[in-house]
Subunit: 411 residues, 2 copies
């Protein structure tokens, strides 16, 4: 047997040795499902239903408008921001929660462009998530800047005296590749540009230390590995050193220095409060606040170690058992995020066939089976059983069933 | 006795004659509170807690990512938009729900400016809600336009060949004055400009017919008279005639023509779908969807009639009993929204003293007591009892208590 023997017994042993195995009990998971789509929508923490019921019935229903003071609604976006900051390496007072990643990208790109006004080029990842590219297009147009697209590992080939901002995702959403954020940020800074990181696919699963690497801004969602719920509010990071000069375009009244004076002209608040916009979606944000309890006493090093062990198990299994499947995700652990992407011509139908067996992953055009491994609530045996399902689907050509080849899903 | 006798018996009679009195049963109202702040945060419809619990436990917890299809999450923003449209006079396919009013104002202002590019001036209400002015400032700056501020009833004095957009609130948030939207829209169009209406303070209480008046765009929140919950998602109206040319700046991937092709460049969706942005805050939006059930079989003419009768009761009471209080809201019914604003030098402390007695209204600097009358869940006797409380607070100078003069609230 090779060193990395892949069988169910070894998966069971990995579960017995897992120091964060009991974190799974903090989640309500559906029966008869192996959920490998936590990279799209994280599972439900068990504490959330009661927290949301309290938000609806007591805070809204009974306390009503008084909740802005009495239940801390006004300070919630900053408090949730700090809690997210603790997961992504940001000291307090630098992360604000709210709105969607698209909106926060717009905010961050405009603010950084205004911090570096002599330079007229935005660089972004040409295979990055669509919203990141679309918002960069829009900002470039509004501010009359040039937009260049490049793979993150080729950024050095385009950095120049005109580069204002380089905006990159921490993890390639298709391949699962984790980029070298510290090294890239250094390169970007050496060229006199500012670095914006989108942590949608890394926050909560892969290590990131925004303060330590000197990121100039960051954004992310909270509904993937942070398990904040469907469409949970996004967040923006602006480090202390840029806050006084951060000139954000979405000047909603919550961002005003003295919002309750109801002035006619905008003066930004001091600190990260200027990254507020309008009234936040409080029910969604209170759900997220409760969901973040899961991370309170959780060493991120343990999360990362389990994540890497899981994705390694997948790679080893595929190598040993699925010769027709290509592992697209890097084999080098330091270059892996929380997912493994597998290439197969029948990827779409394979994903559908797996879903019919209770193994939920997702498909990315044209030919990727994308499997996310949320180490907080998945067991190694779940991963093993899912892989056995995948082997069976391929071995039996279950994916040829017309029920699985017909495209009728939206996600 | 004068025609409009104000006593508790007549209030009771008004309740007995109220054709929509039973709608109150669709709300969960706190004990020992008369809630006159539905113009800030509407009360909780009784159906919402179960709907939200289902959203959290079943849709998120059990169905997980499958809910995008199986529970209709993908189509929810447009469906909720249509339901809001039904309340504000918009035929289906012209309203999209999502984000905050501030974000939607930014979208609408930029889109309208791009529809009228030869003209370089935005006009907005100089005493309008702060966010409306702040976002107009930001858009004017980004697009290099001029910003003029004027009272809505003096718009004719500034309309000219350079006016691109006139952006107004339907109701003055301080005084409660309902502007003549049909007449103003005609004036604006006659001058070759485009009309943007903010319905935050009118949707659900005062009549508005976006299609009939020919509004070029509109926005609004849904947490006031629409009772959608704290920070419930906002909405944007773009009429069919402008949709093909509406060029919106927040180009999130949900607005793409073929979002699941994950193209690298943005092509807007057809129709109102292009007014989507990123992933919406679904828990908040599902709460709003449930809350809107209240309006399903409710004639808006009855809502308006009750609203006017209530605000008339307030004006008559103040005239008869409170000589030191000035009614700031217009006495002419056609010029009243859903609130009455009363001027008194001790307004702040009066509001606090009323809250201590269970009568919840709010304060607007420097000297306004702002009372909102939500006709769906208030009784005329509630209004009468609140006014009796106000009379007592003023008669006894209860507002001199230092507990009430100390400013410690955020809203």
């Amino acid at each position: 047997m090779p060193d990395r023997a892949v069988d169910r017994h070894s998966a069971e042993q990995l579960d017995r040795d897992d120091p964060i195995a009991q974190v799974r009990e903090r989640f309500a998971l559906p029966d008869k499902v192996i959920y490998l789509d936590g990279n799209s929508l994280g599972a439900l923490p068990t504490a959330v239903p009661a927290a949301v019921a309290d938000a609806v019935t007591r805070q809204w229903g009974t306390d009503l408008i008084r909740s802005w003071n009495d239940n801390g609604w006004w300070t919630l976006p900053g408090r949730v921001g700090d809690r997210i900051g603790a997961v992504v390496g940001a000291a307090p007072g630098q992360v604000m929660c709210g709105d969607s990643t698209s909106v926060q990208l717009f905010q961050a790109l405009v603010a950084l462009a205004r911090l570096n006004p002599q330079r007229r080029t935005i660089v972004t990842d040409g295979s990055g998530f669509p919203t990141d590219q679309y918002i960069a297009e829009s900002v470039a147009r509004m501010l009359d800047l040039r937009l260049l697209r490049i793979r993150p590992d080729a950024v050095d080939t385009v950095l120049g005296e005109d580069t204002a901002i380089v905006a990159l995702g921490a993890v390639d959403y298709r391949t699962g590749e984790l980029w070298d954020a510290p090294g890239l940020t250094r390169q970007i800074h050496d060229a006199g540009a500012l670095a914006l990181w989108d942590l949608a696919h890394s926050a909560g699963v892969a290590p990131f230390d925004l303060d330590a690497i000197g990121a100039d801004a960051a954004v992310g969602c909270s509904y993937k590995y942070l398990n904040g719920g469907p469409g949970a509010p996004a967040w923006i990071y602006l480090p202390h050193r840029h806050q006084a000069d951060a000139d954000l375009p979405l000047t909603g009244w919550h961002a005003h220095r003295t919002p309750f004076d109801l002035d006619d002209s905008f003066t930004p608040a001091e600190g990260i409060e200027r990254a507020r916009i309008g009234t936040p979606n409080l029910l969604s944000m209170l759900a997220l606040d409760s969901a973040l309890d899961v991370f309170d006493d959780l060493p991120m090093a343990d999360v990362r170690a389990k994540s890497l062990a899981m994705t390694q198990l997948v790679i080893d299994y595929v190598d040993a058992n699925l010769p027709d499947v290509e592992v697209v995700t890097p084999r080098e652990p330091a270059r892996r995020g929380g997912q493994v992407s597998l290439r197969h011509p029948a990827a779409y139908a394979i994903v559908q066939a797996l879903i019919a067996r209770g193994v939920i992953g997702d498909f990315r055009a044209p030919d990727l089976v994308r499997l996310g491994f949320a180490p907080l609530y998945l067991r190694f045996v779940d991963v093993y059983d899912a892989l056995e399902g995948l082997r069976d689907v391929i071995a039996t050509r279950a994916y040829d069933d017309p029920a699985f080849t017909r495209r009728n899903t939206v996600t």
